[in-house]
Symmetry: D3
């Protein structure tokens, strides 16, 4: 069962220090392509879905490389516009042990951020789509992209596509242009069928306070507020992450339904971590895969968590695992060489 | 005390993805030379023995490189034939955390597999040999190599060399030509003085069933069947491996004598693993080293397990550790920098 | 608050095997610059101090690169002499799991070792200095450097600079020229305000015996002997290191004052280790930073241990962490990506 | 003006020695994707055409990577079948000065070679196609692929697509299965509108002899024979290559029309060569581009030669140049940095 | 004889494709530090002068690395300010044979471009300076930097430092903010003692037309106009570059004095070129070195051209050659190994 | 026809800057094994001869790697002693265009230089040898190695092996210990059947003066003096090298017989050069190969020059070409891809 899923967001070049070095400790950078929504799209394409990217890239070799990398991994890039300007970049030093990974964003003024909302013909782009996937990063980039995200969500509603929205709250981006994070995110969440968010996102958007001592209770309280505020919303999902040190995290996953039913995927120990970036996006793609197939919540969140865990073993922003790879992990979890 | 040990088997090129990448995630492959029997031979050469390879390699730069690498590490390659054809290859993605290593064999139709059994002049090749080492991979490659392995084992018996045989059962290889695994392996094991095998191998070859709940008990029951079936057999040895995740295994070792006496090397925690390939071959070389020296079973299996553990810290298929390296580990196990 | 700290010692080139390979397993070496005193100096420069190197390097591209690397990280190299000769080298195979890192020194006959004690104009070099940092490696290199180290320490006393001395006892270096380690180290320690040493160093220098079962008690007993023997001494500090395996150590830190007061920084688990070399030097720089600021012993040793731990996450000999990096670790220790 | 061009042929992995090393001189291989027809297709896609690949790749990570690389550069891979088996490989040592590049083929028994002719649904695959591009390598791989190539050419004729055929005569491949090169190539050339071939190919297929002293005269005589033998044929094109040494060749291009009219692109000096592989395929794509646009022969052959020359400056098998890149070269040929 | 030379301009990170690849053909970038004025400064520092950089870098790891690299090569960076913002970048694909190198600038909105002219305390920064070196790139970046450059030049005049100005006309930068290139460049040239420029620059700034057929005559005519327009000007110098292809250029050098005297350094064949970037800056540093020493024009331009040629053999933007390296080339030009 | 050739000399590690960088421009070194006599030996082993190395290497991983590399390429290393000490090193920056390659020796005090002459059992080592190959570097290292070289030459005479001696005059090495170059080299040359040397060597050893304007005439005059002074000498051979720039040399070869007959291999243009080191040693091995086969002088010198030229295309110190590779070059010299 293959769905058509349209992802809208910025493509970024990740320039990372080799090995566990600090940035420019030696004079080389490894290049990966990423972006929260593209990460979800690539993972869904690898799961066999017809995933399509809608974005704007710079009219140069970097923009071309970014779109090419998505095609390489199976995404449809016919909806990726090419426009004058620069590509958003981020520099990454991956960290180790007690030294956290550091991300240095250099994405201001990108061709994507400057693209007018009208540049996208949503009815055509969403033609035949089953789902539209957005994240809170896109509206945080400025008025253009905020308007475009909202237009996309409303067009999805018009065409009957479901809307998946990943909170991904980034205060620094909003502050840079003094955007009304609360108002805009509320409008977007109001269109969502599926929300990747936890109580902290709900605190930002709805102003709630979550003093519960148990993480799960906080998530459930946040979900209750979300379902109350957003009548269209059907599911809220998130991971619970406990870093033991930079190389080793513990991860579990929660999926809450509108009826309050909560499915929990039990904690996995994840380490030594190869690449932590994109773990949340891989989880989101896994949950979407389960919902597309109409799986039970337990199976859905189990698949989502397994996908999220697997991502930590793969260099780069993309989860390149297939459904078989994820199911092997869910099913048995054998760790010796596969010959 | 240095023995002459002749190893017969295929040399393979391992083409592996860099770091923890998936295959061809980036456009580079690291090349290592390996092969179950060559791995044992190189380790024995590093331990100071006169280890000689008997094999057939392709008459091209790849075959030349394979033989050259054995010489570099001290093996005698005067018994390596050069013949038209291709080299056997395997592609490796090393895996990480929950993602198992994946091996993609591309070895069909190699110069080794096509070499006629008569191509090897066993009396000359085994001249002065103390041991012949074979594995279950060689007969699994087809009628030519099955005949050659059997001829080698029988020639060893004729010259008085002892025979070491590593089960290494690979069902896919046997299925490819519908070879009679059970019959051929039985014939080979019947010639062996030393068998590297566990209850699963015995299940395949002798049809036994091992429902014991304790791994050690299963191994001992398998060994009892082996000693009953193969009157020449004097020792059976194997590792017990418990993968905690892909990067961390626990490993112990067992050596059972014909008299039923069992020496156990207690569990070592092995992680984070650098390279798991060749761990069993390093163990086999360690056990052979102990038997060559006539050590007590406890010392022998301790040395074997230490050798097997050390291999996990060394990139490539070969255990490049020396006797001093292994004994440092057995003796004290200090882990700070050696200056 | 920025101090001027003068470091005197040899600059070395570290040539290390890539990844976790053994030396020359593949035909490449990574080059880093190091040296016990330079490591302390670079770390202090990164902490904002005016750190100056005094040394002698070879008049070739290697010597030039060594001095250039110190400048790159903020040290003043106007006190680095250039003289005919060779650079000291060391080859490093980093080890893994049960396989200890191996260091192969090739430093005999270096331009530094051959430089006459009179080559250094200490009053000028120490002009305005708050601290002089030395280690026990320098006098171990031969009569020239032993005389130079002593001249430096005495000149520091004359100018009013405090003296920091890191024991770093290396028996092999002393044996090579049959130097009087005990006598010379005693003379140097007699000039020190701050000593990085433990009971083992005190055993060497003062002949004491420390049969206490608890490591901390042994350190305290050693410190008591040191304060008794060296009236100028005000602080003694050291780390307590418990390697669990090559990739994972536990580390705590102790600072003992002349009044016997002991500050202990509790044990940190450090692993998987990226680069263990320079951990002690990073600790020393951290302790010096605390003393320069007049911090309480607890804060000082906490900062020192955090600095030492951080070093294990950074490739190369230098701790490139800033004060903010270290304080982030002391303060909270969050391990997720910093965006 | 964009045409739909369907390319049918094998995808190969090229494994090449780094720099100018011999194969396995150091233990690394660089991986590129290639194949005569894919090279033409990628170049046409980069020129803005709708280029589609028809092929069969192995059902493993290598086959996936090969198809992904074509998508990355803009080809449609929906016609690429996935089947059990292995991928064809070739090992390359690039050579230098007086040392010729060496290619070591390891392509026997590939999934492509084993695919039955009936596996391809040509009417569907050629739907809307303006051109079909084939080469003489495909029929040389065995009866399956010979039948498939012929079926493709005849289907093209049925749908009205033009047929482009690149002789690429490889005697070793034909000998391996004693295929009737002359008969099969004749049948294929009889379907071609455009033939990339020179007098040597005509000698093989038609048995002619070309004793003319001038290369151009030989080509023209060969072309005359080709037009006589193959009534459908409209154009024959080839390069004239004079290697001065391995790093420096001179290259010109010839296009002969059925009317005997000959357009010649004058000799270009090409060196120091970065990567010679794919030079002929880049030339073929350039000529096809001119014919698709209905350009005059002089402009067409000029563009073709410029494309062929540019390929020599680009690592890998593919010509990644755009139309603008090629036209910049034809137009003026300035060689300083483009800022 | 060592002069103090202050260089003012932007520091850039160069991110270049490895080998001769196109940008992002493989997922890696090599990082170098550059900038027209910094290139001159590093070369002068390597020649033994006290070269100091005045600039503004971003307050992040990239800015820190840029300043560190200048220190590594001997420049004084105490005049480099650290400010919020981004670093200017440029991406480079080096080209080959007929394929020109391509530079992709991504420098808009850098910390340097945004720094107010008042941020620099010129009297202090120029204290003791013998020369100030500027280029036409700095004023082209916007009003801030145009004002800063002019302030610097006037402050130099006030302190008695000579002014060296490299035209480096970049129309795209001026167009981006519609700056008055002609007016501003005129004002700057009016302050210069030494101008690196040719007739094309003079055409831009003074509006002259240079129809002479001989390059040298055009340069002389341009110089005549320059001396007429700018009474302070004493020397004008430039290279004459004839690219034969991308890997091979011919280069000569011209130095014209106010008296019309012209010194010509005869043409050198330069190829195969390793790195063409920074060739003009290396030439400028060489000419400055000659003028600082008061050499005759012939010796000065000969040294300048040799320095410029040598740069083409060194990877990166900097000419790392020493005076001895340059003089070896001027003197004899032996090309065999120096042992 | 395969000869047994014994080579005596030092094994060195070459540590070279990557690409065309200067030493330590980036923090990596490539490692190659070399040594004038080992280079000849490896080339002869690749030509099919039984080449054996006699040397002393350090008892560490570096010495082991050096010997292993010779075995890898087919040399017998049973005559390589292992002794305490260090390995000789040399650092190489390969140069480009006008920038000469630079070699930085760091070989003083090596295990080889310190080995006593008596350490070698020459009668045993030379058992069955057809040739002994020495060079002028070995006696230049000090009294030990001078005595050892002389002992080897005399033992060869005693056993009937012919002696090949390569002048390789290195004044710096002799000056370091004020060795009597003239006397010692004379003694060695007096034992030689074959001398690789030109008029400059003869000038050093015999004091002659060679004012002839033609290089060939100078060589012939030097040869005449050599044959007069050394009655045992039968052949003298050398290359004539004309560097056009660092990347491009022209090379011819001369072989003079005792009867004055001169065979000349005409000039080859060699460029762009990949690696110039070992070119003379490859030539020497080629000439030895011809003499072993009893070829005519023209064929011998032609083969020698072709071998020398080929070496320039191969990275590292060794000529890895086979006889077929060299003969392909002599025979026809085609430069296109070999498929």
């Amino acid at each position: 069962m293959s769905a058509r899923v349209v992802c809208f967001g910025e493509l970024l070049l990740r320039l990372s220090a080799p090995g566990r070095e600090r940035l420019l400790q030696s004079p080389a950078l490894e290049v990966r392509i990423g972006g929260a929504e593209a990460n979800v799209g690539v993972s869904l394409a690898r799961f066999g879905h017809r995933a399509a990217m809608v974005s704007t890239v710079a009219d140069n070799a970097l923009g071309e490389a970014a779109a090419g990398e998505l095609r390489r991994h199976g995404m449809d890039t016919s909806g990726v516009r090419i426009a004058p300007g620069r590509m958003g970049l981020y520099f990454l030093a991956p960290g180790a042990i007690h030294r956290p990974a550091e991300v240095l964003y250099d994405r201001a003024g990108s061709a994507f951020a400057l693209a007018a909302a009208e540049a996208y013909d949503w009815p055509a782009l969403l033609d035949g789509a089953d789902w539209l996937h957005l994240s809170g990063i896109t509206p945080a980039l400025g008025t253009n992209t905020a308007a475009a995200a909202l237009a996309a969500a409303r067009a999805a509603r018009a065409t009957g596509a479901r809307v998946s929205f990943d909170g991904n709250f980034r205060p620094k981006l909003w502050e840079a242009w003094q955007g009304d994070a609360r108002g805009i995110l509320s409008e977007l969440m109001a269109e969502a069928d599926l929300l990747f968010a936890d109580h902290r996102d709900m605190g930002v958007v709805l102003g709630g306070d979550y003093p519960q001592s148990e993480p799960l209770a906080r998530v459930q309280a946040g979900a209750a507020d979300a379902f109350a505020a957003f009548p269209r919303l059907r599911w809220m999902a998130c991971t619970l992450r406990s870093p033991r040190n930079v190389d080793h995290h513990a991860l579990s996953g929660v999926l809450v339904g509108r009826d309050g039913g909560t499915a929990l995927a039990p904690r996995e120990e994840v380490g030594p971590i190869v690449d932590r970036i994109g773990g949340g996006d891989a989880f989101a793609a896994g949950v979407l895969h389960g919902l597309i197939h109409g799986w039970q919540p337990e199976r859905t969140i189990g698949f989502g968590l397994a996908a999220g865990c697997l991502k930590h073993s793969i260099p780069g922003d993309f989860n390149l695992a297939t459904v078989a790879d994820v199911e092997a992990l869910v099913g048995e979890g054998r760790y010796d060489v596969r010959r």
